[in-house]
Symmetry: C2
Subunit: 424 residues, 2 copies
């Protein structure tokens, strides 16, 4: 980076306003705000639609051109001086049924603050700077998650997404059309338009930064993830009358598999994370031997080869288990690891390191994201990267989700530095 | 046993009518009969009350005096020649929500057949012979099970039982009073009256006799049983963002405990049976580490000291498990093993062995009952014992519950031999 760009990027960084960030977080959290401090703002609900209107007004007040695409993704553009593809930042404004104030919302507000800082510092960029609020990242009302970004990059068909229904039988298409109708004053823009780069600022939702005692993380990629279902079919029978040696006890088999898989995981790769989170036990009665147990396996690693090796062990463990029953394994989801682009990573790393050092901290942590993000799909479309700030106790998807004010501001400063550098 | 008694007992045995047993089983099974061959006759339901009326009519047709006590237990008496306490046999006529034709019903029908055989053979006994149909052995509509026999022997207070409610808010007391009102023509008799002996014939509901290839089992006692609840409290967190070494994964802890307990059980006692049948996993989500797991432990053994040793291991395993969470154990049910009375066992063993040999089989199997029976409470009141016949594939509490016709008849023959021997 040449010195002139670095100096201007630092002006944008310095113009980030701590109080303005805090108050915009609080204002947005009022849409769906709960008495316990949490936020309930599922995608395209009435509170989500009101929050979208609030964001449109905030963006217009900052002088942005506002547009919406066919998937309801909102774009707020600060023009550049040349006809170049924009630098995009942002995240999503929808939450889990009970979420916090920051997951997603922080990245959207940070984008608006970058535009405000550029305005306040009187900086003109060659490339436009755009802020996005993606539709339905959470995937809790309508599955799957990250609908907005995946539809934008064309990774999936919006026609199929429109058929997804919520718990009340409303389709995503119906909810989307209602939201778009309310946005009749907003220009409609195409999906999949070219972009120079995408940078997403997000809370970590894990413990790594807090444990390191550092405010900023450079996210080098997103772990690959594979989901499996193991089905153990034994024989339900009477707990009192069936001798131990004649049992086909599905819970004894399943618990043995879990122990072996948990031990194997540590040997396959130090960063492999394995979770057996969902269980169905039948008939689930105190005095009946379990005849059927179904459990899920969530395996994640930044190294796809490690996921291959674990899958082999998993498959052998389940299907060749030595017992009187039978067990099968099926894989029903697979997403290869995302590796962010070196060019954007370099800019983001410099921004994070400099902002960290200027605030008296060591260089930023390099880490892989354990959770999905819209940046996972954006990386298929343009050079992309992410910045993390710490989550207190690693808690997220919870009313108690929180980040201290200082790292929240440092995150926006790093984002301003990176976006300005990429757009100048 | 002197030779004269043995000869008369054998006359009773020989008078047992194979076809009459088969047709009475089929007739009783029509009350609550299902198209899949099962029977749905929960205690004191309209079909159970109709079945009771059928039994009363059958008993009267055999010349019995019929009586009912305050818990709805039905007694069918064939008088003796002396004023001595009767020899009681029988079982229960209620079923699980989906049960078979034999569990309980077989023992009641067998008792009526013994009376018919005594009649047909023109045998007069010193002691009265009584057949009982106990109320609510299954405990599925109103808990707990074996209400009739436990109330009869005074082991529990009928006043408390009357408060027990079914899934529709009906109390046991209300259902009982309705059934008793319909029985206005039946003499009311007191509970807890003296008895000479109690012999119960029942299907095994397990695989032991079938595996041995023999038609009759002498039940030497009923296993002790203890029920426990283990609660593992970890920390629910994101499957993707939480490093393995920072997890308090309740399912990893619980599955490890189950494996250790299952291994320990085999070392404590060869007849110890341990079942972990009921599981609650929270939040039970594929991509969230389990924060809480509650599982039950059903431990059974004919040897109470072995149950003590297992309880010690169980308690240590759960509470001292090495992980980042905490686990507790509570015991919520405990019933010591029942050991049947040598005097009655000797008569029952001789009856089973002789009937087996006469039919071309080896001597009867000696085994302990894995399931509860009314005889468990009766053994507190008078010398008691049980006879088992095989269950095909050990299946019970299921529409597929079945026993071949020949052992069903041999079971009634052995019962007739034992009851006649005890009553003469």
């Amino acid at each position: 980076m040449n010195e002139e760009i670095a100096a201007i990027a630092w002006q944008a960084t310095s113009a980030v306003d701590h109080d303005r960030v805090q108050s915009r977080i609080a204002e947005l959290a009022r849409f769906g705000g709960r008495s316990d401090g949490g936020v309930a703002r599922e995608t395209l609900s009435s509170v989500d639609r009101a929050a979208r209107r609030f964001l449109v007004e905030q963006a217009r007040a900052l002088g942005c051109d506002v547009a919406v695409d066919d998937c309801g993704n909102l774009f707020f553009r600060r023009p550049g001086t040349e006809a170049l593809p924009p630098v995009l930042t942002g995240s999503h404004a929808d939450t889990q049924p009970v979420g916090g104030k920051l997951d997603g919302a922080y990245g959207v507000i940070a984008g608006l603050e970058v535009i405000a800082a550029l305005n306040d510092a009187g900086i003109r960029t060659r490339r436009p700077v755009e802020v996005v609020a993606w539709t339905n990242e959470e995937g809790c009302r309508f599955g799957p998650g990250a609908m907005g970004s995946s539809a934008f990059v064309g990774a999936a068909d919006l026609t199929e997404y429109r058929k997804s229904t919520d718990g009340h039988g409303v389709t995503f298409g119906e909810a989307l059309d209602e939201a778009l109708a309310e946005m009749a004053d907003v220009r409609r823009c195409p999906m999949g338009t070219p972009l120079s780069a995408y940078v997403e600022l997000h809370i970590e939702q894990g413990p790594v930064l807090e444990q390191a005692g550092l405010p900023l993380g450079v996210v080098t990629g997103i772990q690959g993830v594979r989901w499996y279902r193991a089905t153990c079919l034994g024989q339900a029978s009477h707990a009192g009358t069936t001798p131990m040696e004649r049992r086909a006890d599905a819970i004894v088999a399943a618990t043995g598999m879990v122990q072996r898989l948990n031990e194997a995981a540590a040997q396959v790769h130090p960063a492999l994370r394995v979770t057996m989170g969902s269980w169905v036990v039948e008939p689930n009665s105190i005095n009946t031997i379990a005849g059927k147990v179904v459990f899920t396996v969530d395996a994640r690693c930044p190294d796809d080869a490690a996921l291959d090796r674990f899958e082999e062990i998993l498959n052998r463990t389940v299907t060749a288990w030595d017992w009187r029953g039978e067990a099968t394994l099926d894989r029903f989801f697979c997403k290869a690891p995302t590796i962010f682009h070196a060019s954007v990573l370099e800019v983001v790393a410099q921004a994070c390191d400099e902002v960290s050092k200027q605030a008296g901290f060591d260089a930023a942590v390099r880490l892989s994201s354990g959770a999905f993000h819209d940046a996972m799909y954006m990386a298929q479309h343009c050079p992309s990267a992410m910045i993390f700030v710490p989550s207190i106790a690693g808690i997220s998807h919870n009313a108690a989700e929180a980040t201290a004010p200082e790292p929240l501001t440092l995150g926006v400063r790093a984002l301003a530095h990176a976006v300005a550098s990429l757009a100048l």
